[in-house]
Amino acid sequence: MANFTPVSAAIGGALIGLSAVLLMLLNGRIAGVTGIFAGLIDPLGTDRGWRATFIAGLIAAPLSAVLVGYTLPVPQMPTSLLVVIAAGLLVGFGTRLSNGCTSGHGVCGIARLSPRSITATAVFMGAAIVVVALTRHVFGG
């Protein structure tokens, strides 16, 4: 397990948890990133202010990491932009259909011991594991 980075994983995970707790203690909201973003771009949305600043903070974080000397991972772009756009749309559609993603269901929901969120997380993790197995080991080779 040469790639295993338990210390940075634990610190980063704790920070994600801290963010979720703070958002509930301060604003009374669930820190589900796709849900927050969806409310921001919803034409009928009313409470855009806090959503916009959450997303702004989220984007500012890695940029500020550069300022203190970290290097950012270079985004890896598959050759077909069309696949990325289609996949992005389906990811967005999926998270709206199930009302949550890795943060909303995976962290906030499981922390509440919600059976709905535990199910959702098991399903999307399972689906992701199957796709990686297929693309890397069955078709990809």
Partner: protein
Amino acid sequence: MRALASLLCGFVFGWGLFISGMMRPDKVLGFLDVFAIPSGNWDPSLAVVMAAALVVTGIGYALARRRPPAFETQNQWPAQTAIDRPLIAGSVLFGVWLDCVRDQRLQTWRH
């Protein structure tokens, strides 16, 4: 104050994602690739990220249940509990296509 509070929360969340390596597709895919377990190349980091986040959130939410939030009248806990078809279908779509955004090898698969 609400906007400022959520700016801070977004910022802390972003740093958490960054520090943990979960902004890097290879770290996430390294966890999802269960075939790498026997060969010893599996990367369990994502599980540690989830575990740490869950411990902190679990304890913090227990505290949050006891009091109203600082800048709102009440906490908005999710009301939905149904394990229904949209939940399952949406989660499948999310899991399947998130990989395709991340993994260049889809190209190999497509051709």
